[in-house]
Amino acid sequence: MIINNLEVELKRGTQTLQVLFLLKNEQYGYSLLQALEERQINIEAGTLYPLLRRLETQRMLTSNWDTSESRPRKYYVLSPFGEEVLEHLIKTWTEINDEMMKLIKGDNKQ
């Protein structure tokens, strides 16, 4: 139970990064959910849809409704500001990853 909670907490921090990364190309909510599942990235639908809305409010995504099909769909794509944020987050993620690898490898040597 404790391990599971810690794992969920750890993964939660990376969800925004993963979503922003996959939204370099235009996607609607469910197609994005499937794209995440294909990559074994587990994110609940009930978490993803509100997250998309928050990212849009924070100007990281832009959206538009496609009403040409029988079912209307809201498409999201990274905004120029979102691209900047993504670039920054990838850099941070790489640094964290390097630090962690150094830490783990360093500890293994001892």
Binding site: Y28, G29, L33, A45, G46, Y49, L51, W65, P72
Partner: protein, 329 residues
């Protein structure tokens, strides 16, 4: 099946801000139908809605600003104060219930009166105490939300005795007690009404009318209001600053002293009780009006001495605390 989906969407959106409802409703509907694909069977709809989670949880995810009556940062203090206030309220209600029942009834009537006092009075006072504490904390919460920058230099000093309650909690409890008992006392002075039925052996004494002399209450009410207001400001200062200074305590002491002197002069120089009440009491107790007046004066003078003693003790304790603190700093 549409019915289940619409009920789900309604249950989510009814918890959201009006301005966002329509947008989220459309988004949610589109997402649900995408998740359903071509299979619109009831089992599949249920499955998809379960994946989205309980409406209340989904609505919480959609809310950008979490709303609380008492925010988590105030919650611990809130619970501490609530416990103390409720204990005091319950104690006061139980004592006053027992006293008034014993004075008014005997035998079976006494037992039924006690039960009635406890059920009605206790629920009423618990509800009242809970409301007052919640409203005061809500007001503090609204005020502290505006403080933006955290300044470590303003942190309160670690008390020498760790078991002492913080000044802030002390201040909050004082405010609550002053508001409740102060308003009750002023309310009593304003209404100045007594409807009493006292059982003395075989005789029953009934009086309905003003307890106190109207001229006396007219002068005493503003004095009490000033005194209560100064106590309130002093306690509020403790909550905001989480400390007290010699200057603020000196101002509070001077105002309180002047009010107390004024109240004493009024009480000693004027007729405190309504003459009709004195007369009725004399008739009921087979005593002369003079005797009853003397007993009344003794009681009133006793109360005045008691209040002065409390005032002096409070002053000595607080001045010792403040001067010790001053030396330490």
């Amino acid at each position: 099946m549409n019915d289940l989906i619409e009920r789900y969407i309604y249950d989510v959106t009814k918890r959201l801000e009006e301005s966002k409802k329509k947008d989220i409703e459309n988004e949610l509907r589109a997402n649900i139908y995408d998740m359903l694909g071509d299979d619109l069977s009831e089992a599949h709809v249920v499955d998809v809605l379960k994946k989205l989670g309980r409406p209340v949880d989904l609505a919480l995810e959609y809310k950008e600003k979490k709303s609380y009556v008492i925010s988590p940062r105030q919650y611990d203090d809130y619970i501490k104060v609530l416990k103390i206030v409720l204990i005091v309220f319950i104690a006061v209600t139980v004592l006053s219930g027992i006293t008034s029942s014993i004075l008014e009834y005997s035998g079976v009537k006494l037992i039924s009166s006690l039960i009635e006092e406890f059920t009605d009075g206790l629920f009423g006072s618990i509800f009242f105490g809970f409301t007052i504490v919640t409203v005061i904390f809500w007001a503090i919460d609204q005020n502290t939300e505006k403080q933006t920058e955290f300044d470590p230099r303003k942190l309160p000093k670690v008390p020498e005795d760790q078991t002492l309650k913080s000044r802030r909690i002390e201040g909050i409890i004082e405010v609550i007690m002053i508001v409740i008992f102060g308003s009750m006392f002023v309310g009593f002075l304003i209404t100045n009404h007594l409807d009493v039925n006292i059982q003395l052996d075989e005789d029953s004494f009934y009086f309905k009318g003003n307890l106190l002399n109207k001229n006396y209450t007219t002068y005493l009410i503003p004095v009490m209001v000033v005194s209560i207001a100064s106590s309130l400001f002093y306690s509020a200062y403790k909550i905001i600053k989480t400390k007290t200074s010699i200057l603020t305590f000196a101002i509070y002491s001077v105002i309180d002293f002047i009010s107390l002197v004024a109240a004493t002069i009024l009480t000693v120089s004027m007729d405190v009780f309504n003459p009709a009440f004195i007369e009725a009491t004399a008739t009921a107790s087979n005593k002369t009006i003079l005797e009853i007046t003397q007993i009344g004066n003794q009681i009133v003078h006793g109360i005045v001495i008691f209040v002065w003693v409390i005032f002096i003790i409070e002053q000595i304790v607080e001045w010792i605390k403040l001067t010790k603190k001053q030396k330490r700093n």
